[in-house]
């Protein structure tokens, strides 16, 4: 089993071009902040399932920036239709990473469909995201993310992870999260306080 905490850290260490990272709620964004806060990180506090749609909007608005959506398997199961949208829009600067522990870890480890018959990579391929694949191990993950994120997409990587919770302490101020993110993307309109 792979570790969400470890792979998130490896991903963040690899980001050198101010890539935007949109993280789904709960463990996904706890591990993103554990890897070190960046201005280009967006941490969701609810709206389960919308990490990929939010990332799609970012990717289309800033086509020269690499955009990465981090999402749990339970969250993407709630919003499978967005994979079809992304499969049709084909944003070349969007990468989706699914952390698949086959369960709803944060609500009490209830089984998810991905722990049974559902293969999220096959779902994504069927939705039109042809470059979808399972991460085999940490070395393979490193190989898959050793690329420029602003081109070559859309891609979806899915990793079978263990049942460990996220490690970081989440940010809880939505306006601060949004304002940081917009500063990171160069779109903040807020005047500096003098």
């Amino acid at each position: 089993m792979l570790s969400r905490t470890t792979l998130t850290r490896r991903l963040v260490q690899r980001l050198t071009n101010e890539e935007a990272v949109v993280a789904g709620l709960g463990n996904t964004n706890f591990d993103l902040i554990a890897a070190g806060h960046r201005l280009q990180n967006f941490y969701m506090l609810g709206s389960m399932g919308l990490a990929c749609p939010i990332a799609l909007g970012v990717a289309l608005a800033q086509p020269n920036r690499g955009v990465i959506a981090l999402e749990g398997d339970g969250s993407i199961l709630m919003a499978l239709g967005c994979l079809a949208t992304i499969g049709n829009v084909q944003p070349r600067n969007l990468t989706i990473i699914i952390w698949d522990n086959g369960m709803y870890q944060i609500t009490g480890k209830q089984a998810a469909a991905t722990g049974g018959a559902t293969d999220i990579v096959a779902v994504a391929q069927g939705a039109g995201i042809e470059q979808s694949e399972w991460v085999r191990d940490e070395t393979h993950f490193d190989t898959l993310i050793d690329r420029r994120f602003e081109e070559g997409g859309p891609r979806l990587l899915a990793a079978k992870i263990g049942d460990q919770p996220g490690q970081g302490l989440p940010m809880r101020d939505p306006v601060l999260i949004r304002e940081n993110f917009m500063r990171g993307l160069g779109t903040s309109h807020s005047r500096e306080l003098g």
């Binding site: 935007a20 609810g46 389960m48 608005a61 993307l185």
Partner: protein, 174 residues
């Protein structure tokens, strides 16, 4: 100008450049207008909360955005409004074509439509019901400017009084 031409013009005049929508019969001319206009990046979503999510991402990345849907689809987005748009102060522009009243033939639509305004009021979201051509541009233009200036969402409800209602209703009513 028709209602859809006025809405399109007001969006463009206010630099709205991203549109996400779920198809709707009444909205057809507006969706077609946006899709045919090279000023807009246009995304057809599979669900209304997905459209709201994409519009939110586009706004944060620098494009003013609109999401379009019908009343039954609005009923799917309470969570996206209550846990994303409102707390993160996203000035999302929402256009909702109103079904369920003034000649609705589908009882499912009549019931779900009644949840829309109470939901908006509970969340404190500004909403305007668009009923006539003479005030349409004023309401849109001022309210869109207010949304971006105050960083708050606004919802425009497209009444059958303005749109003529759902074309599919013709022949279905007794």
């Amino acid at each position: 100008m028709t209602w859809s031409e006025i809405i399109l013009a007001a969006l463009k005049e206010n630099s709205v450049r991203f549109a996400a929508y779920v198809p709707d019969n009444i909205l057809t001319p507006l969706i077609a207008g946006v899709a045919a206009d090279s000023d807009f990046i246009c995304v057809g979503a599979t669900r209304e909360d997905e459209a709201v999510g994409a519009a939110t991402g586009a706004y944060m990345a620098g494009l003013r955005a609109v999401a379009m849907m019908q009343t039954s689809g609005f009923a799917l987005i309470a969570n996206a409004l209550g846990s994303l748009v409102v707390p993160f102060q996203i000035p999302a522009i929402l256009i909702v074509s109103e079904r369920g009243i003034m000649g609705e033939f589908n009882i499912g639509q009549t019931l779900v439509a009644r949840t829309m305004r109470p939901t908006l009021d509970a969340l404190g979201i500004m909403h305007h019901t668009l009923t006539d051509l003479s005030t349409l541009h004023f309401i849109l233009d001022r309210s869109i400017k207010q949304a971006f200036t105050t960083r708050a969402p606004v919802v425009f409800i497209l009444s059958p009084l303005l749109s003529g209602g759902n074309p599919a209703a013709h022949g279905q009513l007794m």
